[in-house]
């Protein structure tokens, strides 16, 4: 018994008619209230800024850009990028979906502990993660040293290239899928599972045939974030020597000082990214994921793992050890070694506060902006909402430096009083990370039955009051998950922070970068450890705030 195939009611909006986009308005169609479409259009305008800038810049180069794109093995780079995206996305889903189910729906030992620590790899900057992977698993790395002492192995196969890059990015980005699926699982109607079991389907068949299909939209939403993150990552692909679009774009900025060509490449990459966005919408399907039955929903009862408890425990422990334990151990080792060698290391509390402050604001603003976009695009489909939804992903799919330069271009010209203020930095974070909030919130919104608001409406409530009193409260798990994602990734954001922050505004990410760039490992390790520690607090707060069961 999979999800039933019913389409979401087609409703047009006032805006469509105003802009002359829609066809003849059907009788009975509801118009989108301004509280929905205004913020949605504002988000779309914000998101279109990087595109406008990139088009402008690539036109600067004129025919040269087209010629160079042709010469540059662009097709090869596209193929390599696609291969990396595919491997990382699939691997992340294979790690995250079981982990999410285990930590939400089963009696896995230390469930809440795993829930918190498996999200934290998200805050490790990818260049740090990649460097640690090279040090640990490189041809003459720590693993080799260990194997040499045991078996005399003098050299390990080179991990750089596709597999090394894929391993690194997977370990850093699977929490996207994890958080998204967790939020989805909280919202699933347990009645389906129970019904399935009462019909004699058994625990495992229920998982496979009922729970898993219901997880589809949240796996798709998380996977999209993983895919776009992979596409726009620079740190890992550069250190592990795998040439992707973002690598080629950085090369143009960093060594050729060719902004026109970088912009041209970015536009090609955006086209690729938008095809992923369309793919995700297809994977999400038109099925319905909300509760059909009447009566109050109850939390699902925990699945008893029985003898499978310990293999499941080992799985959670292994994922944690690789993605968080290994990096933390290495960082701690560097810190201790540096301090032992007499280096002075400071605990940068001021920078930590700056990081939390800016990232926290970004999380709140992104969530507040994402809620109307989600409701608008899902309840009022049409050309406008189609465009808004696609545009929402542009910032996240671009290399951070391209987005930062776009906002410098507009900020320095048209928003001079805001230029290089915290407001613009938060705005940049929202443009960069908006889809993370969007995806998580959408997954939970898909689980809200439109009948709820319909019945509220029949009781004479206004659309706005329904949104506030009925719809919004049901979206809280997605808002928390989305906020957590934006917060954690903003904590490690580098290019926009360096260029757009108020002058002298240091964050943990900038101090890690400054030290690592000059090969001061101990001085990079201490703020990196602090970054994980500081991020753990709000993460724990959010995770532990997820609805408790069995009360």
């Amino acid at each position: 018994m999979g999800a039933m195939q019913t389409t979401v009611p087609q409703t047009g909006g006032l805006l469509r008619r105003m802009l002359g986009l829609g066809g003849v308005p059907h009788a009975g169609r509801r118009r989108a209230p301004a509280v929905l479409w205004l913020p949605s259009v504002a988000v779309a305008i914000a998101m279109v800024l990087p595109l406008v800038y990139l088009v402008e810049r690539s036109l600067d180069g004129g025919g040269e850009v087209v010629g160079l794109l042709w010469r540059m093995r662009t097709a090869e780079i596209a193929f390599r990028s696609a291969a990396l995206v595919a491997v990382v996305t699939v691997a992340s889903a294979l790690i995250a979906a079981p982990l999410a189910w285990l930590t939400v729906r089963t009696d896995l030992p230390l469930r809440r502990f795993w829930s918190v620590v498996t999200v934290l790899p998200l805050v490790i900057p990818s260049y740090v993660g990649a460097f640690l992977v090279v040090v640990a698993l490189g041809p003459r790395g720590m693993l080799q040293g260990f194997l040499e002492s045991l078996f005399g192995i003098e050299r390990l196969p080179d991990i750089s290239g596709l597999w090394g890059a894929a391993l690194t990015i997977t370990l850093l980005s699977f929490p996207y899928t994890l958080l998204s699926v967790r939020a989805g699982l909280w919202g699933q109607d347990p009645a389906l599972d129970e019904m399935s079991r009462s019909l004699g389907l058994g625990q495992w068949k229920t998982l496979w045939r009922v729970t898993l299909p219901q997880m589809r939209p949240s796996i798709a939403a998380g996977s999209l974030l993983v895919a776009l993150y992979t596409l726009s990552d620079f740190g890992a692909v550069s250190l592990l020597r795998y040439e992707t679009f973002t690598w080629a774009i950085y090369l143009q900025y960093e060594t050729a000082f060719n902004r026109a060509l970088a912009a041209g490449l970015s536009l090609v990459m955006i086209a690729a990214a938008l095809s992923l966005v369309v793919l995700e919408a297809q994977a999400r399907g038109r099925s319905r994921y909300y509760r059909a039955a009447t009566g109050a929903a109850r939390p699902a009862s925990l699945v008893q793992l029985g003898p499978w408890r310990w293999p499941a425990f080992a799985f959670a422990a292994a994922v944690t050890a690789l993605s968080l334990g290994m990096p933390l151990a290495l960082l701690a080792y560097w810190a201790v070694r540096g301090i032992a060698a007499g280096e002075t290391v400071e605990l940068l509390w001021g920078n930590a506060l700056n990081s939390v402050y800016a990232s926290g604001l970004a999380a709140v603003v992104a969530v507040l902006a994402a809620v109307p976009v989600v409701v608008f695009t899902l309840r009022y489909p049409g050309r406008v909402s189609w465009v808004v939804e696609r545009l929402a992903y542009t910032g996240f799919a671009l290399p951070g430096i391209a987005v930062a330069l776009a906002l410098i271009f507009f900020g320095a010209r048209f928003a001079t009083p805001l230029y290089q203020t915290l407001a613009l930095l938060v705005f940049a974070y929202v443009v960069l990370f908006f889809p993370q909030a969007l995806g998580a919130i959408r997954s939970t919104y898909l689980q809200v039955s439109p009948r709820l608001s319909e019945s509220a409406m029949s009781l004479g409530k206004s659309t706005t009051s329904i949104l506030w009193r009925v719809t919004l409260p049901l979206m809280v798990p997605g808002m928390l998950a989305g906020g957590a994602l934006v917060f954690l990734t903003a904590m490690k954001e580098l290019p926009a922070t360096l260029l757009l922050s108020p002058i002298g505004f240091g964050t943990l990410a900038t101090s890690i970068w400054a030290a690592a760039e000059e090969a001061f490992f101990a001085r990079a390790a201490v703020p990196a450890l602090l970054l994980v520690a500081v991020s753990a607090v709000p993460t724990a707060f959010l995770i532990l705030r997820e609805p408790r069961r069995g009360q």
């Binding site: 010469r71 093995r73 460097f131 490189g138 003459r140 919202g187 109607d189 550069s238 250190l239 020597r241 040439e243 090369l251 900025y253 960093e254 060594t255 050729a256 000082f257 902004r259 509760r291 939390p299 540096g338 060698a341 280096e343 402050y357 926290g360 604001l361 709140v364 430096i401 930062a404 330069l405 410098i408 271009f409 320095a412 010209r413 001079t416 203020t421 915290l422 689980q447 919004l472 409260p473 049901l474 809280v476 808002m479 290019p495 360096l498 260029l499 108020p502 002058i503 002298g504 240091g506 900038t510 101090s511 400054a514 030290a515 760039e517 000059e518 090969a519 001061f520 001085r523 705030r545």
Partner: protein, 345 residues
């Protein structure tokens, strides 16, 4: 699903309160900062905070000037300056390499001759738009267990010998490496440089994104020789001690492989604090600041009378080919060559 209105307001009350109070605090902070009067200076520094913050602080304290510094990569800051155009708040651009300064030359103002004269002629812009502040040498970093200095060629040209097959590391996308190739094109000519690049390619070098991982790889024995800048080794030595299994070798025959390059500084023509900017540059070329670079960042001073760090090859012992910025101007030609040979895409 059982999240009613009450628990929703509970769940979000704290973040909302937090947010509101943070915004309020932000507004207060914003009100406090407005002091771009005569006593200030805004620096865009492509040189790392780790390296230059202490010396900039010394300048600020000595002069009583409020110095604001934005730290980021040299190329990213160059791009930032170009996007900001006339609206840039920056007075000074302190760049890691001449390439970054070259990219923004149209935005720079010619420096007074008295400032330019503080540095030797090979270390400043031919148009007088920027001046070098400290030097770094191109060098070969080698693994001390597998290689001795005697094994290494007199000239970097010798690395095309097949005996180095599979033992070399390089970072062809790195700015300093490309500067060295530009120097090769100037000294050896286009064809000899192409032959050298193809010869190294034939030796199947391991490609690194930048200098640091090469130094680590040389010490680990992943490569026997790497082409890097000199000072990264000294940072590793400072953290890991003398047992670190890598050392530098400056090609004894000189040539482009022993190139000494500079970090430099220029003044934006839109700068609002030009006097302070000039003072800043004079300070960077003062004995005190030069001594700081020599002893704290393991770099080479550009003025006479400064003692270099122990363990560092004295600049007099490097067979510096004294290649001028004019000879190194054609970065685009180098990039075209690297693309042509198939080294970069």
């Amino acid at each position: 699903m059982e999240v009613g209105f009450r628990s929703w307001s509970c769940a979000l009350r704290l973040p909302f309160l937090l947010c509101a109070s943070l915004l309020l605090a932000g507004a207060f902070v914003a009100c406090g900062e407005d002091d771009s009067g005569p006593g200030s200076l805004t620096v865009y520094s492509g040189r790392s905070e780790e390296l230059v913050a202490p010396i900039i602080e010394q300048f600020a304290d000595a002069m009583g000037i409020q110095v604001d510094v934005r730290y980021a990569g040299t190329a990213a800051l160059a791009a930032t300056l170009l996007e900001e155009g006339g609206n840039s708040p920056a007075d000074v651009f302190f760049a890691q390499d001449p390439g970054g300064l070259g990219a923004v030359e149209d935005l720079l103002e010619p420096l007074p001759q008295s400032v330019l004269d503080l540095a030797p002629e090979w270390a400043r812009s031919p148009e007088g738009l920027w001046v070098g502040t400290s030097g770094r040498a191109r060098t070969l970093v080698y693994n001390t267990e597998n290689v001795t200095e005697a094994d290494l060629p007199d000239d970097i040209g010798g690395l095309t010998d097949p005996k180095w097959k599979g033992r070399i590391g390089w970072a062809p996308t790195n700015g300093s490496f490309q500067a060295m190739v530009t120097a090769m094109r100037s000294r050896w000519g286009e064809d000899a440089t192409r032959d050298w690049l193809e010869g190294i390619q034939a030796n199947e070098p391991i490609v690194y994104p930048k200098n640091t991982p090469q130094v680590a790889a040389a010490a680990a024995g992943e490569i026997d020789v790497g082409m890097v800048n000199h000072y990264y080794l000294h940072r590793f030595l400072a953290e890991e001690g003398d047992s670190f299994k890598a050392r530098n070798y400056h090609p004894r025959g000189g040539g482009p492989g022993a190139l000494v390059m500079v970090a430099g500084v220029g003044i934006l023509s839109t700068a609002g604090n030009k006097d302070n900017a000039n003072r800043f540059i004079e300070f960077l070329l003062s004995l005190a600041a030069q001594q700081y670079f020599a002893s704290q960042t393991f770099e080479y001073p550009l003025v006479e009378g400064v003692v270099t760090q122990r363990g560092l090859t004295p600049i007099e012992e490097i067979n510096n080919p004294l290649i001028t910025p004019r000879e190194m101007a054609d970065l685009e030609g180098t990039q075209a060559l690297l693309r042509d040979v198939g080294i970069t895409p």
